[in-house]
Each structure stands twice: as C-alpha cells, then as structure tokens.
C-alpha cells in the first residue's frame, strides 16, 4: 500500500501542483456548515448567502465551504483545515461550533473568524445573529387572526434561549391580537429530522391546533399541515413550494447582506470584532410574501412589519407577565438584549412546561 501511495504521490506531484499557484491573488472567504447545503432550511439559507457574496464580490474573492461537519472534535479539525488552506475570513454557521471556533481563532491570530448565534468573541472572532423573534411576533399576530380555536402548535428544537425567545415572541404577538390565545409546544430535540418533525406536527394537530409553526429546519411539518388542511409558517427558507395553499409566510434568513458587508470591511482592512444582532430593518431576515390569508390580515402584518422596521414597535414590550403570572415587564418597558439572549422562562399563554 505504501508503494502505491508513493507512486501516486509522484505522479500527482507532477500534475496536481500546477493548478495550485493560479488563484493566489484573490482573498478566500470560507464557510463551515453543520448540515447539507441543500437542506431546504438553515444551511441552505447560509449557502444562498455565500452565493450572493460570490456574485457581488466575485472579482475580488473566492469562497470555499465544508458541509455536514459534526459539532465537536471534527469541527475543530475542519475549521483548522480552512484556516490552513489560506482562508482569510471564516464563517462558522452553527451554534455548536462555538468552542471549536474560539480554539482555532486563538491559534490563528491573523485569520478573521465570525461565529453565528454564539456569545464568545475575541480580537479576531466576531459573532453575528439575527433577530428572528421580530418575524415570530408578526407570525403570532397572523396566527391569532387566522386560528378559529385560538390555539397554535409550535414545533421546537432544543430548549435554548434562542428557541424560547421565539416561542415567547410568537405568543406575545398572538396575545396582542387575542388576549386569550394559547400555544402548545412539542420538543423535537433535533434541528433536522423530517420523520420526527412530521410526527410532532401530527401530534399537535391531533391535539386540536389549527395553525402550525416550527423552529426546525425541514419542510416536513409544512407538508403535514398541507395534508391536514390547516395553515402553517415556514422557517429559515421560503417553504412555499412545500405548501402552496398552506404557507402564510415564512421567516427567511437572508445572510447575504451581512456576508457582503463584512467581507467588504475585511477587504478594506476595516474588519473589527463585534457582536452583531441585526433584524428586519437591516435585511438580515425578511418575511416571505404574505399568502393564503384575507386582505385585512395581510394589511395588519405589513403594518406591524413596517412598525418593527422603523423601530416604533419592539416585540417584547410590557405589560408582560411570566408564565406563572409574575410581572416581567411593566407597561411601556422593553426588554434589554441580555435578558433575551439568556431567556429561560416562558411568558403567559404557553401551554407547556419548559424543560429544565
């Protein structure tokens, strides 16, 4: 076997290396994906962002990516590989890559890193996130108008602050329209598992919900909702193809704008570490077209969206109570970001016990 490898090595040395020198001038921007770039959800949204980046700055940069990278020691190796292969700016696009990114960033001080949805930064490591909850608030309002029973189903992934925040935003939005609105939650304990997600959707519909939303990545819940004839919201990518008669709207992650902005700063030598948390107004998330709903509901959703974009409306504004009835925010008071980022409690109206 060694001999064979040796023979291969020598032939490859002749052919292979000629290609290596040509692309050296362009800066390399690299991405690590936790899922497949065609997952139809979270990872695909990042990959669309990467393609937009190539389209916009393709004459100055080239991009590379590694997909299906498991979180843990494998991620550390994958990130190091990119850092060593000449990437100047590396986006690690899953929360679970946080510690691996921190480790490699300290080893490669000349490479810039950006970690999505995390909270650890360094001089060469920035974090970025999106205020998904703004979209959830709008969804909640729509759900309250559409639902006849006043109960929505929520397929959640893991009980982490990001997801709890989404649930609370949805309920808060819904109760701003219908103060008695309730939601039921099923924890799928996965980001990506069509089978489990579909089961969760069926269980919720059997419990009598008549509108469905999800914080998982596949289109399976949308398909179940379509079969059972109820309405649903898409997640991460526009899922209208999975439910042309079903999808009301979707939170669409549009990372492209951010990737272009940060890469431009990197090229200009102006890149600095930061914790970016943009929202609807910055275009990092957009709402898919409002469909399958009466005109007045659509008008309400658009008005709310405009108010959030202008800063007039902050979704988490009092009076708001926690699930147990104790006061969280006084009338007119808005939540600070730190509370949101560590959110580990439900607000009133959630028919579920938060897994502790």
């Amino acid at each position: 076997m060694k001999k064979l490898l040796l023979a291969l090595a020598t032939t490859a040395a002749v052919i292979g290396f000629s290609a290596a020198a040509s692309a050296a001038d362009k800066a390399k921007v690299c991405f690590i994906y936790v899922g497949s770039k065609t997952d139809g959800g979270w990872t695909q949204a990042h990959d669309i962002g990467r393609l937009e980046l190539e389209k916009s700055l393709g004459d100055k940069i080239e991009t590379q990516f590694l997909e299906n990278v498991p979180e843990g020691p494998d991620a550390e190796r994958a990130i190091e590989r990119l850092a060593r292969s000449g990437c100047g700016l590396i986006f690690t696009t899953s929360f679970g890559f946080m510690d691996a990114t921190v480790k490699i960033a300290s080893k490669f001080p000349d490479v810039k890193f950006e970690h999505a949805t995390g909270y650890k930064t360094a001089p060469n490591l920035a974090t970025y996130n999106s205020r998904f909850y703004e979209g959830r608030y709008i969804q909640g309002q729509i759900a309250a108008k559409i639902s006849e029973k006043g109960v929505a189903g929520y397929i959640a992934s893991f009980p982490i602050p990001e997801v709890v925040m989404g649930i609370n935003a949805f309920v808060t939005g819904a109760r701003s329209v219908n103060p008695d609105f309730k939601i039921k939650v099923v924890w799928a304990n996965t980001w990506f598992d069509p089978g489990k997600e579909a089961d969760a959707a069926k269980a919720l519909i059997d419990q009598g919900v008549d509108v469905l939303t999800q914080h998982t990545d596949t289109t399976a819940p949308m398909q179940v909702a379509a079969e059972r004839g109820i309405k649903a919201f898409g997640q991460a990518s526009d899922m209208i193809k999975a439910g042309p008669e079903t999808q009301l709207t979707a939170i669409v992650d549009t990372w492209g704008a951010y990737y272009i902005k940060r890469t431009q700063a990197f090229l200009d030598g102006k890149w600095e570490t930061m914790s970016s948390w943009d929202g609807l107004k910055d275009g990092i998330l957009t709402m898919a077209p409002y469909t399958n709903m009466p005109d007045d509901v659509k008008a309400m959703a658009e008005a709310t969206q405009a108010k959030i974009e202008s800063g007039e409306l902050k979704p988490f504004t009092g009076p708001l109570n926690k699930q147990d009835g104790s006061e969280w925010l006084k009338a007119g008071e808005s939540s600070d970001d730190a509370t949101l980022l560590g959110m580990n409690f439900y607000v009133e109206g959630v028919d579920d016990k938060l897994p502790q």
């Binding site: 064979l4 291969l8 190091e80 060593r84 602050p161 897994p355």
Partner: protein
C-alpha cells in the same frame, strides 16, 4: 460461459497478502472513474484523498486523534468476536465510559489533583465494563442473544447522556445550552507530542493493541479465546468455560470502549454534549473486520479509515468534491476490501458449458456448506 466461486481446500497464503492490495487498486480505479465522471482531475482527487493528509504534521496529528477511539474500541471487539461473542453495543459502552469518567470533572470540579486523570480513566473503564456486563449477564445466565441486547442498550446510553446534559449536569453558566461545564486543566488528557493535538488516547490505543496482540499470540488465555470461538465443545473438553469467556470478553471490550469514551471526551472535547460520538462504536466494528480481528491489523485499519475522513475533507476544500461523494468513496473501499477477502477462501473459475456448469454449481454450493 459463466463465473463461479469454488471453495479452496486451504486458505490461500498468497491471496491473504494480496487481497488488500487488489482491493486498494480496485478502489483507486473505481474512484478515478467516478471523479472523472464528476469532471474532476482523478489524479489530483486521489492525491488529495490519500496523500495530502499525510504530508503535513498537523494533519498527521488529526489522523491520530480520529483513529484513536476507533482502534481502541476495535481491539476490544476483536477479542469478543474471536471468542464468538457478538458485542454490537460498543457505542453505548463508549458513552457510558465517557459519563462515568466525567463524574469527577463535572460533579467535583473544585477538586484539582494529579489523581483526577488516572481516576477518570479508571472510572471510564469501569463504566464501559459494567454496561457491557448487562448483556454479558443476560447471555451467560439467561441465554439471551447478545447482539440484540447490546445493540438496544446503545439507545439507553444515548438517551441517558442526553438527559444528563440537559438536566442535572447542565452547565450552570452556559445560558441553558445542553452541555456540561468545561473540564478543569487537571481533568484534560495531555497532548503526547508538543507539535499537535494528539492526546494520550492514541497512546492507550497503541498500547492496548500491543498487549492484546501479545495475549492472543503468546498466552494460554489467547489460546482459550481462539478455541472457544471456533468450537465451544472442543473448548469444554479442554476445560475452558464458555460462560466465563462471555464475561471476560464482554467486560474487556466494554472497558476498552469506555476508556476510548473518556479519552475522547477528556482529550478532544473537554466537556459532555448530547452527542459525543459520530458513531465510533459502530465504525469500530468495520475497523475490527478490516483489520481481520488482528490487533496490529486493526491499528492499520483504524488509520486507513481515519485517513478517508480527513481525505474527504481535504478534497472538499481543494476540489469542491461533495461530502456525499466522500461517503460513496468510503463505501467503495470497504466493499472491495471485504469482498476481495473472498479470494482467500474461494477461487474464481470460469465454467464453459451451461449443463456441466449447473451440475458443478450444485456440487460446489454443497461443498461450501
């Protein structure tokens, strides 16, 4: 005209040496064709897959890190399989070892002492061994099928870990994310060589391989394992107890899987998460058979399999070859290696006429039984 397999009267020495090379050659040819069909330069792709990861120091370290758990688990499994005990649950024993070993750094994290690490390793081995003891007990005393029980217990271990890191062991300062606190320095398995990430888990793997190889080859215990594995009745006549052998082989392989688990967690991850293994316990079964259940062969097999993972990433970066192609390529390699081993026991014959062919075919299949 037709091709037939005919059983050899004896194992072919020539082919037992040649078969891995034939397999590699077939894989390379098939792989090259596949890469060509994808419009990639096949030489560059194969170079990236098999050679590039071996050319840099950091990458060699990563190879060792990836291979360590595979080798350690597979070495233990080889003893099981040689003695005809089919432990399929190494994945669960790996996890339970990691959990038991993490008791000290998670629950008693204030205790920093040089004794922490050795105790963690010991607990890890105990955890894995005790968990493997369940199917061992069930088989030895209730005559249940250890393939089923050990496999089912994998899910128990996975869910137990999941519950721990979401519940009682969750990091109090971790914003509710499902992971334990990170280990203190005294609970982290140190690196073996200063130049990279290779931790002592790899040392354990090599040491275990040498010790088990020595045991199988030069000790009475090794003889006992082989005899009982090949014929239980013959073993009984020699005064060996197959019941004791169930206990011995299961506990040994459980302990090694547990050691692999705690080494991986302590050396490479430094905390527990809901998922700590990308299927090492199952991949190790392949490694054990690729190494033909010989501990030294397993070291080579573990390194080769780890190489395909690293090579897959390398070509993903350098040639934009999809991650799925990598898996297909791994599958090709395993398929050819295992199927080429057929040549050790069988020879290929071309059969000329239809009639005569079917007659001999019947005869050979009978013979094969």
């Amino acid at each position: 005209m037709r091709i037939e397999l005919e059983k050899r009267p004896d194992v072919s020495r020539l082919f037992s040496i040649l078969s891995p090379f034939i397999a590699l050659l077939l894989t390379l040819v098939c792989g090259a064709v596949m890469f060509m069909m994808l419009g990639k330069n096949p030489v560059a792709a194969l170079y990236g897959f098999f050679v590039e990861p071996l050319m840099e120091v950091w990458s060699l370290h990563e190879l060792a890190v990836k291979a360590a758990p595979l080798i350690l688990i597979a070495v233990g499994l080889s003893v099981c399989y040689r003695s005809n005990n089919w432990n399929i649950g190494a994945e669960g024993q790996f996890i339970m070892g990691a959990i038991a070993g993490s008791i000290l750094p998670v629950m008693f994290h204030e205790w920093n002492s040089p004794f922490v690490l050795p105790l963690m390793m010991l607990f890890g081995m105990l955890g894995g061994a005790l968990f493997a003891g369940i199917p061992a007990f069930l088989k030895a005393h209730l005559n249940t099928n250890e393939i089923l029980t050990s496999l089912m217990l994998v899910y128990v271990a996975q869910l137990f870990l999941d519950w721990l890191v979401r519940g009682p062991w969750r990091n109090p300062g971790g914003l509710n994310f499902p992971e334990t606190r990170t280990f203190e320095a005294s609970a982290i398995l140190p690196e073996m060589i200063a130049s990279g990430r290779t931790h002592w888990g790899f040392g354990f793997a090599i040491l275990a391989a040498i010790l088990i190889w020595f045991m199988m080859r030069y000790t009475l215990k090794g003889f006992e394992i082989t005899v009982l594995g090949q014929s239980e009745r013959a073993g009984r006549f020699a005064g060996f107890s197959s019941r004791k052998m169930i206990w011995f082989s299961m506990l040994l392989s459980g302990a090694l899987a547990g050691l692999a688990g705690i080494s991986e967690v302590s050396g490479a991850m430094q905390q527990l998460r809901p998922v700590i293994s990308p299927g090492y316990g199952f991949t190790a079964i392949i490694v054990a058979f690729l190494g033909r259940l010989n501990p030294l062969g397993i070291v080579v097999a573990g390194l080769v399999l780890a190489l395909t993972y690293l090579g897959g990433e390398a070509v993903q970066v350098s040639l934009e070859i999809s991650d799925k192609v990598t898996r297909v390529f791994q599958g090709l390699l395993l398929f050819f290696v295992l199927s080429c081993d057929t040549l050790i026991h069988y020879r290929i014959r071309l059969v000329a006429s239809k009639l005569a062919g079917s007659a001999t075919a019947a005869a050979t299949t009978d013979g094969a039984r």
